[in-house]
Each structure stands twice: as structure tokens, then as C-alpha cells.
Symmetry: C2
Subunit: 385 residues, 2 copies
């Protein structure tokens, strides 16, 4: 944890690990709290094993760290609020609270002029069935709190069945109109303590079973007016929240406009490409923001594709044979569908990137579908913007 | 030290630290041996404190690591030879031995057709005085073994004085003709276990008091015939040695040709720019070579300048305000002239890089001279190659 400056991180998963790897060269020491036995950050940071709200660990963290951040949004709010009384916490617990309830998040988005799908709060089963009709006959029902990687939601085309209702209704729900989107995009941005903004380009994401598989950075074929419109909307959001650090906004490109899906008040899987693909990574910028240092440029370096490695790690030699490959191994135990690492392919231009994606598809069967999808998207991109 | 593969490193200074930082994302665990109390690699690797030839530590290392490398060439040969009987050691102890004696190194260079300055072995003081005359009246006297960062050498314009002779003559010496070079260049190259080569571009170096201050990558104005000639010569050297891993060759550009100065059988300070400035860093390629994995491209990404941070670390906020700045803090205790970190500036083109060097000169007084030197070199480069 030695370092010129020392920070605390709640969570020592792969995001905490990549934060720590970005911190070290800046002379930043990292101490993290995580309940897991075998946390991925443990080889690059000092990790204290325990609950996020363990009072003894929090008391130690207040002493050890000059500022505190977190790697995921479901840390106990009371723990963050306690820390925030003694140390700067970034982003602020208040900003985090705004996004924790998906209904409140949508109200916030509407307040700052970020377009969202039509939606309804759901109090009971009859309420949900009515909402599906009112929202056009097809809706997504989601838990208002928690849930990630596609968990805690279901698509309904009519009255909810008993099994789905039972699975979800233990927590408060909301229903959203189903958006027949053309593609999913996301925006990752860093806001400094001085209000400076570093926008990464809009990226295109492919999810399968609710889990991110592929990110293309920058997203092909984003009209500059759309990029500017999203940036302006997110700027209003960040300023409203007095936000400091990295934030990600997931959105739907409907073909005729865009709608926000949700935000993540932290470094984000769809920003991992920035380690090699941007002038400054999202991890470094998150740290620079939190410590009051100037942000680095978020401009892309060439074009990149990020592929998540789920369930099993491919063989190093096969993978690294593909030009432009950058491997990120999280050193986690393998379990079906678990995020074990990611791969970033960099290239000077889209045709070369498509070629490299096809080469990856050849050598890693589990990436075939996502890599081919990415290659096709690059092939069919319009050359005029 | 956890990792899919575990390697051992003799030495846990900044080179070992940067090797470990490159190793982690590849799922490579690192254990290092170092006698220092406060080794820079200790926060990112498992560091065992002790002598490089401590038999107990070496015995543990043979068990813990699947392959072993080293961060500097003055490790005790017997320690490496012992390890090499049980584990792959890269580069091989034999290759290391060839470069340990500067006289033997020059004979090796001549054998493979690498041009070197005229030189003589020195047996006694009269021998040295004769050599200076024979070498044209100006010579560099150097210890045959050890010595780095300008230590263990002196420039003579006539008979040696008693103080210089006393300071150097406790170890065997050689004398070299003084080369009135136009500039210093170096070549960093990785050779894979399969014999594949990844050449970084020739870079231009500025030394002061024998210590590297600045590297410009790629070196401005290198005719492609010279680059090809140096590469061909180094290829003969690597093949002769059956070399595996990264090697650096320092050379003099005499204006009419080039002469080799010395080689370093390891990752090299003049290759640090490659972390951000090349497709694959020298550290990653050294690891990939040693583990038998395919090498990554060594092609530059834009243009870069590396500045060593000596004696004191500049303030983060001032430094990071300069666009394209990438800070590498080694977390070492400050001492006058000690290498405490380095800075890599990246830019899309030479004029932008020159501008950024001048911006660094403004905010970091201790870098002013080296940064201005670099900026002027970029200004006056010929635009035709």
C-alpha cells in the first residue's frame, strides 16, 4: 500500500485490480476491502478481507487512505457515508444514491433532459399487467434495486407468469417500454475535481444473456450531432450531481434517436479498451479525478475492440499470435460464464481491426460469435459520417 | 506471486517493477530476490530480501518459479548457472557472460560484424599511456567488468594522472579510441524462443554525466539503410548467441557511419518509452519471449520522448497538466541524482511532441535542459529521410 498518496477502494474484483494497476505507476498505493477469499486485486494491492461495512476495517481505512472510491455501486450506503465524514469519497455517496433506485435514476435523467424509455412503477401483479398494456404490449420488468449482468429482469409480452413474478417480486419493481433498439452504445466520461471533462468516444456494445461480450471503440457510424447531443446531456447530469470521477451511461440507439438505459457511477466494462486504446485509460482518469489532478486526454488511439473472456481462459500462445492483442487476465478461478479476463485488440483502422477480430474468432472458439459480430459491424459501417 | 505461470526475477528495482507490472495482466506471477530493504518491485511482486546468490533463496526460487530472468547484468554468474540447471533462464547465462567483460564483448561484436571503436587491453599504467597515443591521443579508459551510468570510466587526452589510475586500476581495464559522435542511438530488440524478432525503432539518447536523460523514439533522421544495417548486424549477434528475450545495443552515430558502444542483455532504460509508445512494451515482449509465447509488434505508436526523473519527483498536478504525459513513479526514496521515475510524452507527430517537451520544461525545472534539447532536435530534424 506504500505510495506517495494512498487511496482506499471498496471492492477488490477486476475493476479494483485494474485501478490498482493504473495507480502504481502514478505512485498511488491502494488498499481495498473485499469479502472474497481470492480477490483479483490481491496481487497488486493490499486487500483486507471482510465485509464492506465492517466497522473495524472502515476505521482502519480512514487512517490508511487519504481518499476512498469503490468498484461497484452496490456497496452498503452507510459504509460510504461513514467514510465520507472523514475522507473524500469519490464519486460522492449522494451521486451513488441517485442511481441505486432505477426509478429515481429515470426521474433524475428526465430532470436533466436525458431521454429515457416510457416506464411505470409497479406496486403489485395487477399493476404490472396494466403497465405492460400501457407501455405498448411489450415491456421489460426490472427490480428497482440491485441486479446486474442481466439478472433481476425479464421481458414480458403480456400478463406476467407466476414463476417470473415470484422470482422478481421480492423487491420493488418497475416496468419499461421495450425499446426495439438498433444497437447498444455507451459513453464513459471522467469529470475532474475542477469540473474539467474528458469524454471517451461513444462505443458500441454487444450483450448476450445480459452480459457484455464485445465493445467497439469508437462506435462505428455515430453522427457527430448525436455524439455532441449525448455529451451535452451527460454534461448536464454530471454538473447536476457535482460528480467527480468516471461515470458510464448505457444507451440505446433506436435508429431515429437515443434513449438512456442506465448509468454506472464507476469505471465500466465498456471502458476497458481505453487501457491500450485511448491516450489515458478510464482507470487512470478516475484516479486523477479523485486526487484533484488534471485529467488526461480520452482521445482514442486508432480503433479497438474489447472482448470479454467468460468461463474459460484461452491458451496464451494461440491468443497472442493475433496481431494487436492485449490480454488482461484477472487471475480468477474458472466458473461457467464468469468474467475471467478480457482481450483488447488495437488496430490503426477499421478494416485491420475486422481482420484481427476474424483471426481471434479462428483461434478462440468461445469468442467466435462475438468476434464475427464485431468484424461484420466494421465491414458494414458506412464510410461517410 | 499467484499466477497461471510464475517467474523469478533476480533484482527488484525499477526494471523488475516494470516487468512485474507488465506480467500481472498476462496472468504471470512474479517473485524477485533483492538485497535492498525497500525494493521498488515490492508493491507489485513478491520480493524476497537477500543476496542474489543466497543458496536458500535460490533453492526456494527453483521451486516457486517456472522460469527465471534478471533485471541487471551484474548478478553473480554462479547464481544464474545454478538456476539454469533446474529452470529455463533467459537470456542464457552464456549470453550474459559474453557481455560481462567489455573486452570480450568487443571481440564478440567484431566476430559477428558489428563495428566497434579501436581499442586495446590495458595491463599496466605504461600500457595505458601507450594506448592513448596509439588510439589517436584521446581515449576512454574503462573497467572491463562492472560499471554503469558513467561510473568506472574516464576520458584521457594524454598520460593518465595518478588519481584516475588509482580510482580505476583495481580492476582490469581497456582503452577505446574516443569517438567524436554526432549523437547516441540505441536499438532495443526482442527475440522469441522460436527465433522471431521484434525490433523497436532506433532511438536517440541524451546522456549527461554518464546518465541517460532523454530518449526520442523513433530517433529523428535515421536513413532506412542505417536502420536496416544495424538490424542485420544485431540479428547476427542474436543468432550467434541463441539469444532469448530483450537486448539493447548502444551505438554512436558518427555522422558517416555507426559504431557499437555496448550491449545490455536485458530490458533497458532507453526502451521505457515503449510502455505507451509502442504496440507492445519491451517488458511484455521480454516476458513473452521467455515463456515461449509469440512476440507482439514493436512498432511505434506515434512519437515519444522519455525523460528520466533524477533526484526529486516533480509535483503530480503540474506534470500531468502537460498533454500526453505518462508518469512512472518508482516509489524510491529520494537521493541526489537517483533515478526516481520517468516520464513518457506521447504525441501524434514530431512538432506536437516538441511543443509538449517545451511545456514540460516550463513546469519541471530539473527537466528543462533535457526537454529543450529534445525539442530542438525535433525542430531541426530533416523532413526528408
Amino acid at each position: 500500500m506504500k505510495g506517495v498518496v494512498r487511496i482506499g477502494v471498496l471492492g477488490a474484483g477486476q475493476l479494483g485490480r485494474m485501478l490498482a494497476l493504473a495507480a502504481r505507476p502514478l505512485g498511488i498505493g491502494v488498499v481495498a476491502i473485499d469479502p472474497a477469499e481470492d480477490a483479483p486485486a490481491a496481487t497488486v494491492a493490499e486487500v483486507w478481507r471482510g465485509a464492506y461495512d465492517d466497522p473495524a476495517l472502515l476505521a482502519r481505512l480512514e487512517v490508511a487512505a487519504e481518499a476512498v472510491t469503490f468498484e461497484f455501486e452496490n456497496v452498503p450506503p452507510a459504509a460510504l457515508e461513514r467514510l465520507a465524514q472523514r475522507r473524500p469519497v469519490w464519486p460522492s455517496p449522494g451521486a451513488l444514491a441517485e442511481g441505486r433506485d432505477r426509478l429515481r435514476e429515470k426521474a433524475l435523467f428526465e430532470r436533466v433532459g436525458i431521454p429515457v424509455p416510457r416506464h411505470r412503477a409497479v406496486r403489485d401483479r395487477a399493476d404490472l399487467d396494466r403497465a405492460v398494456v400501457e407501455l405498448g404490449g411489450r415491456a421489460v420488468v426490472k427490480t428497482r434495486y440491485g441486479g446486474f449482468d442481466g439478472r433481476g429482469q425479464a421481458v414480458l409480452d403480456g400478463p406476467v407468469d407466476a414463476a417470473t413474478w415470484d422470482a422478481l417480486s421480492s423487491s420493488p419493481l418497475l416496468a419499461e417500454a421495450f425499446v426495439p433498439f438498433r444497437r447498444e452504445l455507451s459513453l464513459v466520461v471522467a469529470r475532474g475535481a475542477d469540473g474539467a471533462l474528458a469524454f471517451y468516444p461513444l462505443v458500441e456494445n454487444l450483450h448476450q444473456q445480459g452480459v457484455l461480450r464485445l465493445t467497439l471503440a469508437p462506435a462505428p457510424d455515430v453522427p457527430s450531432a448525436v455524439e455532441a447531443d449525448v455529451r451535452a446531456a451527460v454534461t448536464r447530469l454530471l454538473e447536476h450531481l457535482g460528480y467527480v470521477g468516471v461515470l458510464a451511461l448505457e444507451l440505446f440507439d433506436t435508429g431515429t434517436g437515443w434513449l438512456a438505459n442506465e448509468m454506472a457511477p464507476r469505471v465500466h466494462n465498456s471502458g476497458h479498451w481505453s487501457i491500450e486504446g485511448a491516450e489515458t485509460s478510464q482507470f487512470e482518469n478516475h484516479l486523477r479525478a479523485g486526487l484533484g489532478w488534471p485529467l488526461g486526454s480520452a482521445a482514442p488511439r486508432g480503433v479497438s475492440a474489447m472482448l470479454n473472456l467468460l468461463g474459460e481462459m484461452p491458451e496464451h500462445a494461440a491468443l497472442l499470435r493475433v496481431p494487436g492483442t492485449h490480454l488482461h487476465h484477472y487471475e480468477k478461478a474458472a466458473r461457467p460464464a464468469r468474467k475471467l479476463g478480457h482481450l483488447t485488440l488495437t488496430a490503426p483502422d477499421a478494416p485491420t481491426l475486422a481482420q484481427r477480430l476474424r483471426a481471434v474468432a479462428e483461434v478462440v472458439p468461445s469468442l467466435r460469435e462475438a468476434a464475427h459480430h464485431g468484424a461484420r459491424r466494421l465491414d458494414t459501417r458506412s464510410l461517410v459520417r
